[in-house]
Amino acid sequence: MTFKIKPEEIYVPSGDVVAREIEGEIIIVPLSAGIGDAEDDLFSLNETGRVFWKMLNGEKTLAQIVKALGKQFDAPLARIEKDVVGLAGELLKRRLIVEKKRS
């Protein structure tokens, strides 16, 4: 199964996880069975991952998130895009995020 990330799509946190912000860290706790890889997995996002996660508000496409991150972080846009697509692909594979359905 492939998890193709589409920059023009909007991705949102899955309803099958609970994201908690504790002492400045985002901890993603699976709620339903089959999320993540194993029974006791939690996921922690670092500072950059945290900024990305907070932008998954159901309004911005991935391409818009890349642009917004480009304004916040001092790195070439191509590099940010590659990183964001990689992270989103990993989160999608683990079902921590889902593609928002267009109405």
């Binding site: 609970v18 994201a19 908690r20 504790i22 002492e23 400045g24 860290e25 901890i27 706790v29 699976p30 709620l31 339903s32 069975a33 993540g36 890889d37 029974e39 006791d40 997995d41 939690l42 996921f43 922690s44 996002l45 670092n46 950059t48 991952g49 990305f52 590659k82 990183d83 964001v84 697509v85 990689g86 992270l87 692909g89 990993e90 989160l91």
Partner: protein
Amino acid sequence: MTPANRFSEKISMNSRRLWKKKHPQLGHLDIELTERCDNNCVHCSINLPENDVRAKERELKTGEWRRVLQDAAELGALSVRFTGGEPLLRDDFAELYVFARKLGIKIIVFTNARKISPELADLLARIPPLERIEVSVYGMRRESYEAVSRIPGSFDECRRGLDLLRRNHIPFAIKGALLPANKNEIDEFESWAMTLSGIGHPPSFSLNFELRSRRDSAAKNTFIKNLRATPEETVAILNRHRETYRKGIREFCMKFIGPPGVELFHCGAGLGGCLDAYGQFQPCLALRAPELSWNLREVSLRDALTRGLPRLRKMTAVNPVYLQRCAVCFLKGLCSQCPARSWAEHGSLDSPVEYFCAVAHAQAVDLGLLAEGEHGWEVTDWRDRISRLSAR
């Protein structure tokens, strides 16, 4: 390193990597949902009858538990243990479980599995607790199990509950209590528990039972004392898996053994917290001393944590016998004496507990740390003795 690895990390609750900057105010909370139990185990330190109406009326109500869980989540708790008594006796168990999981809290359940229904097993499969359910099993046969639980039909119900967990692929671990009624089953029990739960190590056993933590029955305490493994039996049981035991205990002694000094609390008490069924916040589930608990109907969880518990860490012993013995005894790390057990046995926080002292001394003699008749508090060359143990 992939982009995903740069920004996210898969972590486990036991990982030291979890908190890189600052620890939350509350990492874990133990919750005794009820003191009532559908078993009436001979060795139990807490249980009340299942149909104890007064106890049930006093228990926190669903809304109060929800508030506690909400507060715990706000203080950063990532895990909660639901224990008892038998936590599944609460009619609102499923509701509280789902509520806590939706707050992003992992749940550890201590149960005898008798009340695991198909509906509950289905719920636990759909919304996994994210920690193994811990099931206490008291015997391999109906006769031995029910000689401990003293409830006809409990053996079959326990087996039915375990079967539901297994068939629904819900991870669980089995624990035992070694008692006269089941001690001849120990080999069979170990092998069965490892196979059934899929855990690659033998199950844990209770054998040095604690007395009633509410100090509510001298008669029950006398009964429990008679069920405890003797120091010699304890050593024999520890040595059943001799190589593993010796390796583990050597590492333990190198890290944790030595005279504790006058401070009373050397464990995790006061770093997290526990709640009894009636909303009383305590340093640990076994420590029911009224002067060390706060009622959450009167103070908030945050206040109990920030104002109440820190003073515990500074409490010191005043009992001269404790100061002459326990405070200077290098075996303190091996000894199960603690303020909770001292309180259960003597009603004070700083009394030696002779039974646990005898167990620790027997263990030390077996390990070659003491000669027969020596006392841990009289030994001055304990560092050399530990070095010799670690070199063996």
